[in-house]
């Protein structure tokens, strides 16, 4: 009975399937529209590597890769946790705008509410954060105030209506927001 032939064929099939899934995951890491998609795909790639090392240990019946598997399953999530915290700090407005426009959310399509001078692809310019580099005609500019200077410091808590204000109580990402359904610090 040719069990050896069957085993060889199945080994080849397992290796081919793992290689194919790693390739597709790499494509998603490359084209992922936001950082979080890439993070999710990286987690999947780590688990595919765990599966491949386990398959190698099973097919060669050697146990030298098992401590490597233990360490990989322990530290494999730390990269995604670190990047997720970094993204939560940085807010990545462009990817969020893309996701909202794709999803067509009825709640948050008007999220940058001041429509005066909403220009550009995202409507949110980095210059809003920094008072020194405001560009004329950017967001916050009105007919009386083409540079948007009198809007004041966007971090001023007295201007809670600015969606880019980190103290804005209406911002769902603000940890001080009582309406944040996820809540928590950080």
């Amino acid at each position: 009975m040719n069990l050896d032939l069957l085993e060889q064929v199945l080994e080849g099939v397992v290796g081919g399937l793992l290689a194919l899934s790693a390739l597709l995951t790499l494509i998603r890491i490359t084209i992922g529209p936001s950082v979080l998609d890439r993070v999710v795909a990286t987690d999947v790639l780590v688990s595919i590597v765990v599966c491949a090392l386990g398959a190698h240990a099973a097919l060669t019946s050697g146990s030298t890769t098992l401590p490597l598997l233990i360490s990989l399953s322990l530290v494999g999530f730390m990269g995604s946790v670190a990047v997720a915290r970094f993204v939560a700090r940085d807010r990545d407005p462009q990817a969020g705008e893309e996701a909202r426009s794709v999803a067509g959310s009825p709640d948050r399509t008007d999220w940058p509410r001041s429509s005066a001078g909403r220009s550009g692809r995202t409507g949110i310019s980095r210059a809003v954060w920094e008072p020194g580099v405001r560009q004329p005609g950017g967001r916050g500019a009105t007919a009386q105030d083409p540079h948007g200077v009198t809007r004041g410091d966007p971090r001023d808590p007295r201007d809670p209506g600015d969606p880019r204000n980190p103290r804005n109580p209406r911002d769902p990402g603000n940890p001080r927001n009582p309406r944040d359904p996820i809540g928590g610090t950080s």
Partner: protein, 120 residues
């Protein structure tokens, strides 16, 4: 057919199932439209695929020390994957990649109409 040959074949079958789950997750990662769907697809090989593979390894090696290490791998995977997924999901919510209408909570109605209470 002796028990060792049957165990080897069964282990190979489990390895094949794990590899199939990896392929399914990769296809789901490529095809699904948004972040939560991709996370849904991506958790399949992270939990069930790894468990299948370590069952396959255990069926093929059949030594006590290796089985203990495989159990440790499974436990660590089950402990760390939800932590990472929780952080990624929360970051996705805060960067606006999750529709608030997709979140079903008791406070959803008060969340959906923030304009009615903000000026009071």
């Amino acid at each position: 057919m002796s028990w060792s040959v049957a165990s080897d074949l069964l282990g190979l079958l489990f390895l094949l199932l794990g590899a199939l789950l990896c392929v399914a997750a990769a296809i789901g990662l490529l095809r699904f439209p948004d972040l939560l769907s991709r996370m849904h697809a991506g958790t399949k090989p992270q939990v069930l695929g790894v468990i299948f593979v370590i069952i396959g390894v255990g069926l093929r090696t059949r030594s006590g020390l290796d089985v203990g290490m495989l159990v440790l791998i499974g436990v660590f995977q089950l402990l760390t994957i939800p932590a990472g997924a929780h952080m990624v999901g929360r970051a996705g919510f805060r960067t606006g990649q999750v529709e608030p209408a997709d979140i079903h909570l008791g406070r959803r109605r008060t969340y959906r109409t923030p304009a009615s209470t903000e000026d009071g």
